[in-house]
Amino acid sequence: MRRFATERAKKLISSYYHPHQRSLLSSSRYSSRFFTSVVPDPSAMSPPVTVDTINPKVLKCEYAVRGEIVTQAQNLQQELQAKPGSHPFDEILYCNIGNPQSLGQQPITFFREVLALCDHPSILDRSETQGLFSADSVQRAWQILDLIPGRATGAYSHSQGVKGLRDHIAAGIEARDGFPANPNDIFLTDGASPAVHMMMQLLIRSENDGILCPIPQYPLYSASIALHGGALVPYYLDEAKGWGLEISELQKQLKEAKSKGITVRALVVINPGNPTGQVLAEDNQRAIVEFCKKENLVLLADEVYQENIYVDEKKFHSFKKVSRFMGYGEDDIALVSFQSVSKGYYGECGKRGGYMEVTGFSADVREQIYKVASVNLCSNISGQILASLVMNPPKVGDESYESYIAEKDGILSSLARRAKTLEDAFNSLEGVTCNKAEGAMYLFPRIHLPQKAIEAAKALKKAPDALYASRLLEATGIVVVPGSGFGQVPGTWHFRCTILPQEDKIPAVVSRLTAFHEAFMGEFRD
């Protein structure tokens, strides 16, 4: 159903090196007024909207996480249903997407109790409700409903989100960081992704505006930059150094971009990293803040995995905290921090809850951000409520605290175990090296593919890692995303695999994957 991502992703990443070689489609955007052959002739037979006449930025963007490999998987799934036993596996295991609850992770009970009560407040008065819901969930629901005018959860809220919920989120941020947060800096959105899109829309004026992005990156960034007509300026994370971020690399890429006439507007940092899973060291973060301040860049801090840390030696520090700790305030650095309800231990992807905290912008810029948010009126209320719960969970002493903390710790410790098990499994494979997943939800092993495999891929017009992923799927039912969907140093190959299958499935995943890999290497060994 979808064309494959590699060639376009490569073009996208390399296009900033060769701005004059950018595709004809994107440069014709400015000349279409004169370039009449692009304009459909009303008397011609073809309909007004065809793939040749849609917005070229739409054609240019790619998103491999739900790309070709997923289509292949869905076809296989249908075949399995129609003809059980037709494949050497019983089920498709979707390890392509950070979607924990689709693989059996349970939601946090307290959160769901509160959400259910807020969805149907008329049962709050009923005595039977006390028997079905914990007392503190009932209390919290009342508290939340009192923040919403008329207790109307079906009404559009303020375009930044319900004020009282933003107050709670700001309090949660302050409790986390030790520095105050202003509820007026918070914009609640349908997941973190729309907030990222909003910022790209504000920042990108033309194809000469560049955004520094880590390579490998979560392809929301490359896709959003393409959709808004900007230039992705890559900075390479160092695989040999645990996917470390070097300031020298940032400086180098910034300088090169400038020399090509690109105005770099912002720096994207994903911490913990996706797909790479590294957690930044504090001194690294300070150097990043200094860099942005010096170079006048907006720092876009994607912190959606802030609650997914699996190693004792690392801790999450928000960029807001780091900046404030350095003595930098509103007048010193422009920082946008993104958080989501989709990840962490709550994994509530389907709710579409999230926010951005916007600091260091002038009032007139903030007005524009508000204006753009207002066109969509507001984000879904249930997601807003959930964001406030995530930033303000049960505390010691609350009735639900014990069960809450047991659920949370259970999920996080299990994720840590799975991260380790799969990391070790990948490292045990011939020609595969895998950095530790210090955080997030993914492993990003590097596969050193034999030349024969690379040539076989070329013959099929596929990227080598796409061939590997496709064969893996055919043999085992396991769906991973080829590394080319995220970007990688040219000539290196990876794939991203989530750590999310339930623990009892992990041994089978490991053994099937191992068997496949051995067979694959056997087939293609030089």
Binding site: L227, R265, N376
Partner: protein, 480 residues
């Protein structure tokens, strides 16, 4: 010290955007509210904010879906009727992992199937679930389609004037051109195809390629319901001029007269048979925010594509996939909306009663408001045939217009601000929707509670008639 992002270096398209619905009047009203003044917000179609209660059945179902552990508890039947329990189980079975998992980027297949079946029943023609995409509110769908269609500033979109400013705002954001076609107020906000042709040829002579035409049926802010003949004319026009028709049909349940029931653009198109039915490209939009549901806060909507080439559908899917999926609770609301309780279901009678009460009341309020405005000096108001708004024309005397100019305000903004300050009624000035030069309106909703309406209309009349008294010259209002 300059930092990353400054007003001067913002994307120009963002700066061009206007969205009056939550603009100056709303912000001023919010300020006054903070100061303790009682405000009646009639600036946005937000029924629950004005006291309309949610329908019981959908809230029962979604609450159970949120907390599936309730379904294991034998006491759940004390709080929830059996059909709500069954329906919750049904929707949970359509998901893979419950409400907390990303669904298919187009929305859960099971719910898209329910929507297709609804469309089939409504129109008498089968609909393909694969061509139905669920979105976080219809607005997101409109943005996606317009973004796919607009390539640059020489791509024009035909938009009715007055229009719901989502369209003008989105066209600005996408860097395209809005090509207005004026609805005729004296002909009940009717659409004149000759007007359309004129707008198109003027735009084309300026080098604009017209790509699409937007119709809002029932209209917003104008409320008119299109006749079958009108829709056919529009479809012919799109066929001849090679335009995609964008049919905003979010108010299809809000019909307050019987002469022109709702007729979908799709049904009309398919009734016309080939070649038109196979050639005209159409995207139709619907939502849970309006109708008698009014569930704005859920952000549930969908669009249905007709005659859109598969490769384009693929591209639209690709863009949808970047945002992963629409929110699942909103999807379930959509499923419930198109598949409400049926006669014989335990919850049917209550559901029917609740729905009918809302719709009957809306119809009455449409009349109360129209008549109320028409009883005011220098105010003329077309009847609200559908949707949720009243859009009276305010014939401002020249002195009022001068007074507005003196304080640097657009005349209808000036009037609406004075109205707000005097009565607490927060409306949206007509300039936010577009209107003919020198003709002024305001948009209000018909949503304040029925029992509050008489007092509100009285309060308005008092303000208006005093305003007119103050600003008319002694010869009375002279037509411009």
């Amino acid at each position: 010290m300059s930092m990353g992002l400054e007003y001067e270096t913002l994307n120009e398209n963002v700066k061009k955007v206007q969205y009056a619905v939550r603009g100056e009047l709303y912000l001023r009203a919010s300020e006054l509210q903070k100061e303790g003044k009682k405000i009646i917000f009639t600036n946005v179609g937000n029924p629950h904010a004005l006291g309309q209660k949610p329908l019981t059945f959908p809230r029962q179902v979604v609450a159970l879906c949120q907390a599936p552990f309730l379904l294991d508890d034998p006491n759940v039947e004390l709080l929830f009727p059996a059909d709500a329990i069954a329906r919750a189980k049904h929707y949970l079975s359509l998901t893979s992992g419950g409400l907390g998992a990303y669904s298919d980027s187009r929305g859960l297949p099971g719910i898209r199937k329910e929507i297709a079946e609804f469309i089939g029943r409504r129109d008498g023609y089968p609909s393909d679930p694969e061509l139905i995409f669920l979105t976080d509110g219809a607005s997101k769908g409109v943005m996606q389609i317009l973004n796919a269609t607009i390539r640059g500033e020489s791509d024009g979109i035909l938009v009715p004037v007055p229009q719901y400013p989502l369209y003008s705002a989105t066209i600005s954001l996408c860097g395209g051109s809005l090509v207005p076609y004026y609805l005729e107020e004296t002909a009940n906000w009717g659409l004149d195809v000759n007007q359309l042709r004129q707008s198109v040829s003027k735009a084309r002579s300026n080098g604009i390629t017209i790509r699409a035409m937007v119709i809002i049926n029932p209209g917003n802010p104008t409320g008119q319901c299109l006749s079958e003949a009108n829709i056919r004319e529009i479809l012919h026009f799109c066929y001849q001029e090679k335009l995609v028709l964008l049919g905003d049909e979010v108010y299809q349940q809000n019909i307050y007269q019987d002469a022109r029931p709702f007729l979908s653009a799709r049904k009309t198109l398919l009734d016309m048979g080939p070649p038109m039915s196979q050639a005209v490209q159409l995207v139709s939009f619907h939502t849970v925010s309006k109708g008698y549901w009014g569930e704005c806060g859920q952000r549930g909507g969908y669009f249905e594509m007709t005659n859109i080439p598969p490769k384009v559908v693929d591209e639209i899917y690709k863009v949808a996939s970047i945002s992963l999926s629409p929110n699942v609770p909103g999807q379930i609301f959509l499923g419930l909306m198109v598949n409400p309780p049926k006669p014989g279901d335990i919850s049917y009678l209550k559901f029917e009663r609740e729905s009918k009460a809302i719709l009957d009341s809306l119809r009455r309020r449409a009349h109360i408001m129209t008549d109320g405005f028409n009883s005011c000096r220098n105010v003329v108001c077309n009847f609200t045939e559908g949707a949720m708004y009243s859009f009276p024309q305010i014939r401002l005397p020249p002195k009022a217009i001068e007074a507005a100019k003196r304080v640097g305000k657009v005349p209808d903004v000036f009037y609406c601000l004075k109205l707000l300050e005097a009565t607490g009624i927060s409306t949206v000035p007509g300039s936010g929707f577009g209107q003919k030069e020198g003709v002024f309106h305001l948009r209000t909703t018909i949503l304040p509670a029925e029992e509050d309406m008489p007092a509100i209309m009285e309060s308005f009349k008092k303000f208006n008639d005093e305003f007119m008294e103050q600003y008319e010259d002694h010869r009375g209002y002279s037509r411009m």
